[in-house]
């Protein structure tokens, strides 16, 4: 070992012997007596529990909603009854008016013509073509049509029907031939429609203007005349549109990033005016950035409540300069050992860096939204709780020195409550996914510095967030 290493080793051992003469049990007892701060695991535990409860609640609600209705709105298919008319027999007791004729509504189809009580078959050659059955009012006052009918529904048929429908037309759909219903246009309309609506969704569309119809009287279609066949007179029935029940509750998740401007407030009493001036001149707010994850519930696509986790970083610039520092220098002549001086040297010091404040908040926000087809506008407001504040960087001390924030016991570990509000504008990308932009303002109620620290400091934050919202 060379002399220098030996010297250092010897010096270290001697110095250690100087320092710690106390028995080790004294340090142990001191450590036990000082109870260090418990790590804030409780808040993390609370947050995990809250997330678990909310997630399980969402899952339960989603599963129960799905079991209630198997079909989604819009996917319902209205089953149209098939009415088949075979060999319509025109009752011979029909009194006819030779002047009035039956109108043919379908191209290529056979016509049902009433000529003085003549029986005519009414058949349709083309099954895709829908013919209307003109039911004439019986001059005796009885309008009876019974039978089993098949109908075909199609958009084309709908159009065809609508185009060709006149006041004389009647489109009926009747139940099984064993029953007889009065024709529409009478006071029995209501009864007919009620009866028809009871029968497996078969529908009755009634035209009330029967009076002007052809005197072809009641067409009595007996069940015995019904035979199978390819060509049936289709009776068109207008489909009944399903009712779309609006979802009352829906859930959403938002993920966003933000950038903003921190707004700093500082004040102090007269006793700390020097420190206040030092800090004010050396610290300048720079920018803020953050991210947020929220999940919430929407009621009737208008009202919302949400919570989540926000992370925010507030950056400041630290810039300290001091001029005219006096340095006293003594010069020793190596040859003679004569000491000359002191020589006064003036110097300048510049010290710069960044100050970073990191915050974790839990917001609870209530919102109101207005939705259109593609765009949504909403406002949200509510309180938030700050879980943690971590401040790092340089800070001026009362003795005009540059120190570290963590050594000065200046900033708190948690700030407490605050209020925030925002206005969001979003664009629907798909039915469940939307992109939003959200200017917001965050106001912290309490100071960020400890109560004992003489200069009170606080930040508020104005920012713009951009994020995506997924709705379930």
């Amino acid at each position: 070992m060379n002399p220098l290493e030996s010297f250092e080793k010897q010096l270290k051992e001697s110095a250690d012997m100087q320092v710690d003469h106390s028995a080790s049990f004294i340090w142990e007892d001191l450590s036990k007596a000082i109870k260090p701060k418990k790590k804030k695991r409780r808040i993390l535990l609370f947050w995990l529990l809250f997330s678990a409860v909310l997630t399980s609640g969402i899952i339960v609600l989603m599963v129960s909603d799905k079991t209630k209705s198997e079909q989604k709105p819009g996917e319902k298919q209205v089953e149209k009854p098939n009415a088949v008319i075979h060999d319509l027999e025109i009752a011979q007791d029909v009194s006819t008016d030779p002047k009035k004729e039956h109108r043919d509504f379908t191209p290529g189809g056979k016509r049902a013509i009433n000529r003085g009580g003549e029986k005519k078959d009414v058949l349709i050659e083309n099954a895709a073509v829908i013919e209307k059955l003109a039911i004439k009012k019986d001059r005796t006052g009885q309008n009876k049509v019974s039978g089993e009918f098949k109908t075909q529904t199609s958009q084309q048929s709908l159009t065809g029907i609508n185009n060709s429908r006149t006041s004389d037309e009647q489109i009926s759909n009747f139940n099984d031939g064993s029953q007889t219903y009065d024709n529409p246009g009478t006071e029995d309309d209501q009864e007919v429609s009620e009866l028809a609506s009871k029968n497996d969704g078969r529908e009755v569309i009634l035209n009330r203007e029967l009076k002007s119809l052809d005197p072809l009287a009641s067409l009595t279609i007996t069940p015995s005349s019904l035979t199978g066949g390819e060509n049936h007179e289709g009776i068109f029935s207008q489909p009944q549109c399903p009712t779309f029940r609006e979802k009352r509750f829906s859930f959403f998740v938002e993920l966003e990033g933000l950038a903003g401007i921190p707004l700093k407030q500082m004040n102090s009493g007269p006793e700390a005016s020097k420190l206040y001036e030092l800090r004010k001149s050396s610290e300048k707010p720079w920018y803020s950035a953050g991210a947020g994850l929220h999940f919430g519930m929407m009621y009737r696509n208008k009202f919302s409540v949400s919570t989540g986790l926000d992370w925010l970083r507030v950056n400041e610039k630290f810039d300290y300069s001091k001029t005219d520092i006096v340095d006293l220098i003594y010069h020793v002549d190596p040859n003679t050992g004569y000491v000359t001086g002191p020589f006064i040297v003036t110097k300048n010091i510049t010290n710069s860096g960044q100050i970073r404040h990191t915050l974790m908040d839990i917001p609870v926000l209530l919102g109101y939204h207005m939705k259109s087809e593609h765009w949504n506008i909403g406002i949200q407001a509510g309180p938030f709780i700050n879980l943690n504040l971590t401040s790092r960087g340089k800070i001026m001390t009362a003795t005009d020195q540059v120190g570290q924030i963590k050594d000065q016991n200046s900033y708190k570990d948690a700030v407490g409550a605050g209020l925030q509000g925002s206005l969001s504008v979003s664009r629907n990308l798909t039915s469940n996914l939307s992109l939003y932009i959200k200017p917001s303002f965050k106001y912290y109620l309490n100071d960020w510095t400890n109560n004992e620290y003489p200069v009170r400091t606080k930040f508020n934050n104005a920012s713009v967030s951009i994020g995506v919202r997924q709705t379930f």
Binding site: Q10, L11, P36, I329, H331, P334, Q401
Partner: protein, 149 residues
Amino acid sequence: MYPICSRYCRTAADAQDALLISFTKVFHNLGSYKAEGPLGAWIRKIVVRTCIDLMRKQKDINIIPIDSLQFQEIGFEYREQMTYDEMMKVVDQMPEGYRLVFIMSVIDEMSHAEIGQALNISESTSRSQLMRARKHLQSKILNKQNRYL
């Protein structure tokens, strides 16, 4: 903790002041002690930083290593059984910048990052100062030459 103060401060009075201020800070910041390390090491760190702050405040001089100055070369006869006071006298005669870095690194075993933070210098400056301090000390270990101030 007084020996720590005495090796940083030039006079006994300064060392006593530093000790008093250090323990005031210890009691004031006791709530922030997080038990991540031994209590003694935590107090020691506060004492060292307090001593350095006090020295700066008193002299109003920024601690900048003065490399270009010429100091009288003081030699000493290295013996294997030197006392603590004799060794500290040798260390005290080094330039201020060398002395502080040497004490903090060799005796208090602080890392260059910690030294840089305490003295407001960079890590590389701290390393270079320690190297120069050792060089300076090396040149002072004279087996035969005896020149005293």
